[in-house]
Each structure stands twice: as C-alpha cells, then as structure tokens.
Amino acid sequence: MASVRLEGVVKRFGRATAVNRVTLEVGDGEFFVLLGPSGCGKTTTLRLIAGLEYPDEGRILMDGEDVTYKEPKERNVAMVFQNYALYPNMTVYDNIAFPLNVRRKEIGLTREEIREKVLEVARMLQIEELLDRKPGQLSGGQQQRVALARALVRRPRVWLMDEPLSNLDALLRVAMRAELKRLQKELGITTVYVTHDQAEAMGLADRIAVMNRGKVVQVGTPREVFHEPSHIFVATFLGSPPMNILECTIEPRGGGGVVKCPGIERPLQWSPGGVERIYLGVRPEFIRVERSPGPGRWEATVEVVEPLGTEAVVTLTIGGAIVKAKVLDEGYRPGETVYLELDWSRVQAFDPETGRAIGELARTLRGLAG
C-alpha cells in the first residue's frame, strides 16, 4: 500500500500533448478513478504511474519516493489491462504465479510458498477449479478474475486498472464492479482505475479525477463532481442524460433584476451592474414536468420520450432551446404541451468564456428557491 503523487506531469507524443501538467494525489488505500472521454490522457497517466511511459516533465512519487524514471518492476505496482493480457501459452496457475516465478530468487520464495500464495488468491477470487486450464478455455468473466488474481498475488503497492470491465457484458460488469470494490476495501490496496464509464466511476471511486484534453478538470468525491461540477465539461460529461445547459442573461429590471433563459424568466432580488451572459445548468433529474400551468411553470413542447421503465427521459423544446428531463413515465406524447418547473435550489451557473462554475452566482440563484 502506498500513496501516489503526480507533480506537474507532462507527456508528449510528437507534437501532441497527451498529459498536460497533471498534479494529483492518491491517498493510501484510496480507490481513485481517472474518468474522461477517449483521448483525454487518462490511460497515458496510468501508464506513467506504471512506468510503461516516462514523463517529459514533472515527477511521480510513491510514498514520497521519486519513481519518475524507475522501471516498472522497481515500482512494485500491478496492472490489469483492458484485454486482460493473460499469457496464452500458460495455464491459469502459471499465469497467476508468473509475477512470483520471475523474481523467485530475488524475493526468496520456495515453489511451495508460491503455490500457497497462488492458491490463496485463487480461493479469494473463486477460480480454484480453473487453475489447470489455459486462458483460451475461459469465459471473459473468468479471464477477468485470473487477471485480477495475477495482479493481487504479490500484494503490490499500487493496483492499476485500465478499463478492466469494459470487455464484459452489462450484467457481469455490474457484478464484477461490486466485487472489485469489496476486494479493494478488504485488502486496502491503493488503486488507480481508468474508465470512460461514469456509472463505473461513480460506483467505485472514493474520489474521481475528471480529465479532458490531457488536463485534470476536477478532483472530488463522486457526490462533489456530480452535484458541484467546477466546469461546464464536468457538468455535461457526468450524468445520464448530462446536465442541461441554457444560454441565459442576467439583466437589471426595476429595482432588482431578472434572469432570462429561453422560455423562462425569473425575477432576481438584487440588481446586476449590467447585462451579463451566463450558462445556466440544471440536471434532468431536477426538472419537473407538469400537465397544467401554474406560477413558476413554463410552457414547453414534448419532442421525444425515451421510456426507461418507471422513469422516462423526455426531450422538450422551450423557447427554441432543447431541454431533457428525467421524470416518472406518465405517458407523455410527442407534440404535447407541458409545463416545466425548475428546482432552483439545484441550478449551476457557468462563465460562457471560460466554462468555469460561478459559485457565487449559483448560490445567489439558488437563494431564490422557495
């Protein structure tokens, strides 16, 4: 177990900067997820921690020890690959024993001791009956367990995982997710996990680093990054469907002011200095759809309904803008006129130029709720 620290790490491939001044701290025993779209630099960051790539700038520390230019084997990390990377010519037993066998003399283990360790992790992952088989004879889920066992057998300082569940079918993925979390908590191994799947990230992580274009946009607990996104990118990347972003203005009116969004107007109890453009963010879960008009309700038209069982995602147009709402499926029909109600206590505000969250403004807007 160890803490991992990246300080201003930069990695370039030719002219492209894959990782751009990334600074991160992963605590001892923490389950840390790097989340982002394809090509955001999350896998390169993981490979830098593993020692499969060396940074062009910056430092990588493990337990305070500088490992920036150390070989992978000197770092005592283990990695689970997306395609599992099991050695096809070896049996499951030999695959799991491989990390111990190749440095048997170095770590001073007898064959019998290696056998005990392999059997122990095989028991832990319930793959004892597969030990004599070759990887080609295993299902995806079984291969996944073998890969995990191989990564566990020598009790690494850090466990690195590169989208390890993405090759599994949906049901198995959910089951493995739970098991992975249990295992990690039980063993307390510091884990850095890469995924583009936000549900996986939210379910597994103690903390998430959301990455985009080689940079870390926000680091926080799943709750923080979901409810308090620091950047419009995080707001629109997380959530299914993601946060609605409305182009609005804040204008002075009378003694106070007004926030004007497409099809929505809301008085403010303070007066802004002038006309200000803002992006207003509101999650689909915090929009109510009503069939009757009323105060604080705004007319909209249903465009598409995607039933999800008890809930439905309803796509609406309001003042020319498109808004999605996640509501109880009450048989809305395309073309139907409905009335939206925003939960103002949950809205976010973003600067249209920088995309950064304007916390103060968001708090002011929320203060109007009720």
């Binding site: 499969l52 283990a78 990695m79 690959f81 395609n83 050695y87 070896m90 491989f98 990390p99 190749v102």
Partner: protein, 297 residues
Amino acid sequence: MKSRLRENLRAYGFLAPALLLLGVFVVYPIVGTIIISLETQSGLGLGNYLEVLSEKSPSKALVIPGNLGGPPPWGALVHNMVWILVHVPLTTFLGLMLAYMLIHVYGRSLVKSIVFLSMIIPMVVGGLIIRFIFDSQVGVIPRIFDTLGVESLARTWTAYPETSLASLILGSVWLWLGFSLTIHSAAVDSVPRSLIEAARIDGASEWQIFRRVIAPAVWPATLTVMVMTLLWDLKIFDIVYAATQGGPGGSSTVLAYVMWLYFARALDYGRAAATAVILTILTLAAASYMIRRSLRG
C-alpha cells in the same frame, strides 16, 4: 443421382488441366526417376542404391564411417545432417532474437530490409560472396581471427577440409537469416503489446519476456521457419556448387551435389536417380510432418 454425377464430371472437367500439368511435370518425372534408379544391367533391382550408399570415394560418398571422429570429409549425407543440426537452430534463434530486439528499435524497417537483402541475392551469387567473406586476403572473417591471433582460422576457409563445410554452413546462416527474421517479425508484431507490458510490470527481465512470453507466442512461426530451413538444407546445392564444388577433397559435398556429379559428370543416370530418390524420401518425411501439422492447425 444423375445431377450429382453430372456435377462430379463438371468438377473433374475443371480439375483436368491442373491434373494434367501435375501429371506431366511432377508425377511422370518422379515415377520415371524411381524406375531409372531401379534399372541395373541385370534388370530391375536395388543395385544402384547399394552402390551409391557404399561408395568410398570422398567426393561421392554418402557416409565415410572411418572419418567420422576427425575432420571432414564425412560423406555427403552426414554433411547434410551437420548442416541441419547447426543451421536450423542458429538461423531460427537468431531470426527470432533479432525480430524481438527490433521491436524496440527506431527505423527497424531499414534494418529488416538490409537483412532481407541476403534473401534476394541469387544463391549462386551468395555462394561466391561466401568465398569472399572467408578469403584470407579480402574476407572479413579470417581478418577478425588474424587480429585475434587465431592463425588456424586466419586463412581461406573454403580451401581447407577442416573449415570448408563450416564456412558454407555459417555463410548459409547469413543468407537465410532474412527469411527467419521476416517470418518471425510478422509473428512478433502480432503479439499484443499488452502481453509484453504485463510481463514487464510483473517484474520479468527482457530475457524472461523473450523466453516465456514471446517465444511460446510465436511458436507456430518458429516451426514453419525450422521446417522450411530443414528442407532448404536437405536440398542445398547452389552455394556448394558456387563456393567450393564440394571440395577440397569432398569435405563439403552434399546429397544434391553428389546427385549432380553422378548425373552431369559421370553420366551415370541410374546412380544419379538413386541419390535423387534418397534425397526425395528425406525431404518428403520433413514436408509431410509440416503438412500434417498445418492440416491439424
């Protein structure tokens, strides 16, 4: 039933031209050679085979039991076997090793192209180059040994019975390495990079990765290289003809060269055919193993 018969006839119709060509150019010569090899003055028999196998003159002998403890000549068949024993493992291993080492090298295509050059040189020219490589005046190998002070190897290798066979075998390693490298490179490139990376993270050294991950993963390619090299070694003729003419004193003869001597020098077609049949049987044994394996694969 009738339509099936018609379909079969049609299929044979399409096959006929190919079968005819095979019959004229493959089956007939083989059968003809076997018949000639069995023809003796007293009718059909194994006389030619017995004479070829018991031949004593060093330039045509297949096995010279008396010489086996000392330097060549040992007989053409033994030379072929020695060739296989040295050449097959050396070429296979070097090709695989080089293919693995080259995945780490920038500009590996250029290196591969240079090594592959030896494959496009006509073998007769290759034979002449071997003569030059091992020549005491202009050759690089004797020069190296001269510098090292090993006088017995600082002379023209092809001119001495002790070294002529060795010079041909080592020269053939150079000539054939391009083939081994090309096949192995394609195989090594198809090994998922994540396997190598996984082994590296697991703490394996480069040698352990080579031996325990790469070599087993490319085994089918290695087997192909081994069998193809073995077949080439059995049939080897051109570089022997160009470099040493089997000499000096029969110290570098091989089966195909002996066959040629009987055929073109002695005009003894019976013995030439008998040697050809022996050579074909050996080649077929190796080839059938390969075909059986590939059918199973």
